[in-house]
């Protein structure tokens, strides 16, 4: 038994996203005209030791996101915690 944390990191709206823009262009060229915007982000899955309490997992996950997984200058993050 352990904790499964899913982290979603997305670029802040004000930040340009060259990759997303390129993907959108490619999709439009491929005939997907209905795609009007693409933003690329990161999805990270963390497995925590089941011995930790939910509160501890949340606290550590938040620190990890803040320090490492997201760059607060340009990115925002959110995460969910599940017992697995």
């Amino acid at each position: 038994m352990g904790w499964h944390v899913s982290v979603y990191v997305t670029l802040k709206p004000s930040v340009q996203d060259p990759q997303g823009a390129t993907v959108q262009r490619a999709l439009n060229q491929m005939g997907y005209q209905a795609v009007q915007g693409v933003r690329m982000g990161k999805f990270t899955e963390l497995e925590f030791d089941g011995k930790l309490s939910e509160a501890d997992v949340k606290k550590q996950a938040d620190e990890i996101c803040d320090k490492l997984l997201a760059n607060p200058n340009i990115e925002s993050y959110r995460f969910t915690v599940e017992k697995k």
């Binding site: 060259p18 390129t22 320090k67 997984l69 340009i74």
Partner: protein, 232 residues
């Protein structure tokens, strides 16, 4: 003058920095492994280019937690000179020692070629040997050198004259075509407010000799030497 070059797992321009400082500029240089905390009493710390931690996650994101970075931050806080080149620039931004962030090149491709940069500020320890507006031919080699900062940050950079070098054409004109990676305002390098920490994407470590295609990078090293002489 004494330089210390930090070495992270995945650094790969550490040798180039060592070579240009020691063999071309004739200065002392120490290589400091990232797990060490003793910088060995340098006058200037160089955070070199490469792919620290494979550039996995985000460029520079993991390296900034290396033990040596705390010492580098302390050194800078006391006014020591720190220069970050390419991945070194990315690390200094991630560590919050320089403003802004470097994202994927607009073309999404890694780009290796000589570019031209214009020296916008000469009252820094890293550019004092340059003439105002001097154009340097100097190589870039990066996939994530697209400088970004929010509007407020950009204003601050301008107000404090922290934009040290910008991409330009051979004549010194800043044009869209001469901006290789989509950097905001064609920014190629910035310094901190105290002007003792400098980061840039182009490589003064690879442009110290004519046989390599340009010796223009020497002027950056010469500036650092001059700054030290000025202090002494």
């Amino acid at each position: 003058m004494r330089f210390s070059v930090t070495v992270f797992p995945g650094s790969n321009c550490d040798h180039d920095c060592e070579y240009v400082i020691r063999d071309v500029m004739g200065q002392k240089v120490e290589m400091v492994w990232h797990k060490e905390t003793d910088l060995r009493n340098p006058d200037c710390v160089v955070v070199p280019g490469g792919f620290s931690y494979g550039d996995y996650l985000r460029t520079g994101a993991i390296a900034r937690f290396s033990p040596v970075m705390k010492s580098v931050a302390d050194f800078a806080a006391k006014g020591g000179l720190v220069v970050g080149i390419c991945n070194g620039f990315q690390i200094l931004c991630e560590a919050g020692m320089l403003p802004g962030v470097l994202i994927r090149n607009k073309s999404l491709q890694f780009i290796c070629k000589n570019v031209y940069i214009k020296v916008e500020q000469t009252d820094t320890p890293f550019t004092n040997a340059c003439k105002p507006g001097q154009v340097l031919k100097i190589p870039i080699a990066h996939g994530e050198g697209n400088y970004f900062i929010d509007a407020e940050g950009l204003k601050k950079l301008k107000d404090n004259r922290q934009i040290v070098v910008r991409y330009c054409d051979p004549e010194g004109q800043v044009t869209p075509e001469s901006n290789p990676n989509g950097s905001l305002d064609a920014i190629a390098g910035v310094c901190n407010e105290k002007r003792n920490v400098f980061g840039l994407m182009p490589h003064p470590d690879r442009s110290g000799e004519d046989v390599l295609g340009s010796h223009d990078g020497q002027v950056i090293w010469k500036s650092i030497l001059a700054a030290k002489a000025g202090v002494a």
